[in-house]
Symmetry: C2
Subunit: 223 residues, 2 copies
């Protein structure tokens, strides 16, 4: 049993070191770009020699894989407070505004992760299924929410939920892509593209929401 606690301590210490390595790696990616990450630079900042890093990660690709999984878990956590079954009285507009804002905020505040996750800028690197799993979960959750809103009558019934979801991901990824490529230093609040979200949600809802029953706020294109 003593050996067990010793193992635990060793294991915990190892995990702490791994987290430290990943933290430094994220900082370097944020400064020099995702492809600008180098083993030597990580070791330099940690005050160790490059070969020591191979104790924790068998290769640079394995390091990228851990970063990918960490990033996917992070964005999943950033979106978890408002996901799964959207609260009952929540309108499509409110759901899109909240989930869109949360995702876009995370993306511009974690540019290194979002580039690694959504742009694939590392030549030979493909994430492992394990690292990819949280990312898949994110997409599925979002798609399930839109489908639920459609069953609830908040979304036009003459279009596939998958199509609505696809178009929504295009809008959101367009905002992120434009903001990060053209003005990466602007904050979420003051970003010239992030501020377009409300306008885009209005446009999207106008096109895809089921028109309200109590009058004619909108009537083209449905049915």
């Amino acid at each position: 049993m003593i050996s067990s606690t010793a193992q635990d301590r060793r294991h915990r210490r190892r995990q702490e070191t791994i987290e430290e390595v990943l933290d430094v790696a994220v900082a370097i990616m944020a400064e020099h770009g995702v492809a600008g990450l180098s083993i030597g630079e990580i070791a330099r900042r940690l005050g160790i020699r490059p070969p020591s890093l191979y104790v924790y990660f068998p290769s640079k690709h394995a390091l990228y894989d851990a970063l990918f999984e960490r990033g996917a878990r992070s964005v999943l956590a950033a979106l978890s407070p408002l996901q799964e079954p959207p609260p009952d009285g929540l309108s499509l507009e409110e759901y899109l505004r909240r989930s869109g804002a949360a995702f876009i905020r995370w993306s511009v505040e974690n540019p290194a992760y979002s580039q690694l996750l959504f742009w694939r800028p590392v030549p030979g690197f493909t994430p492992s299924p394990a690292a990819y799993a949280p990312a898949t979960q994110l997409v599925e959750r979002n798609q399930a929410c839109i489908a639920a809103l459609q069953r609830r009558g908040a979304v036009r019934s003459d279009v596939d939920a998958a199509t609505v979801h696809r178009d929504w991901t295009i809008l959101v990824s367009g905002v992120v892509s434009q903001q990060l490529a053209n003005a990466p230093s602007e904050s979420f609040e003051e970003g010239r593209f992030t501020r377009a979200l409300d306008s885009l949600v209005a446009m999207f809802v106008r096109h895809y929401a089921r028109p309200a029953a109590h009058g004619g706020t909108d009537r083209a294109h449905d049915r």
Copy 2:
């Protein structure tokens, strides 16, 4: 005069070599990603030694700069047939559909260039003003077209043309970003995101077009 023609020939020969180098570089970027470009690989494919390339480009960044300018000129050329002042009877919807399709098609058919131009995946590289000029011209042209359509009465007058242009670039870059990141091997015609263009144009026009005068096809949100 003889020396002049000799110089011309030398100069032409040099330009041909430069174009050859750039062609090979684009092919490598398409295979291994923009950051996967290497001087050694270019030399290998051209059957020369790496140092010989420094006769034509003083550094790898200068090579990227030439590639950036070449890409910007290429996309500008791909869009030039339908630009500047949009033809008189052309509706907003038709203009967006055509210019959007042309840009998206170029982007998915030239993924290496579009990543270099719009994603900035090379750590220390920033394009020179000369290389950047054609890209600026592209944006200005598009913005001018939207402003012209607004003056002509095809676009709502209660919003800034710059806002309309910003939202349009978000849609288009969203399509490109999603298509290249998730399914880069799909063609423009069969792409699961490129095919969303018509639907997105419809959504966009519904929100931003000035409603037709002859009836009530649409009436919400337009002053």
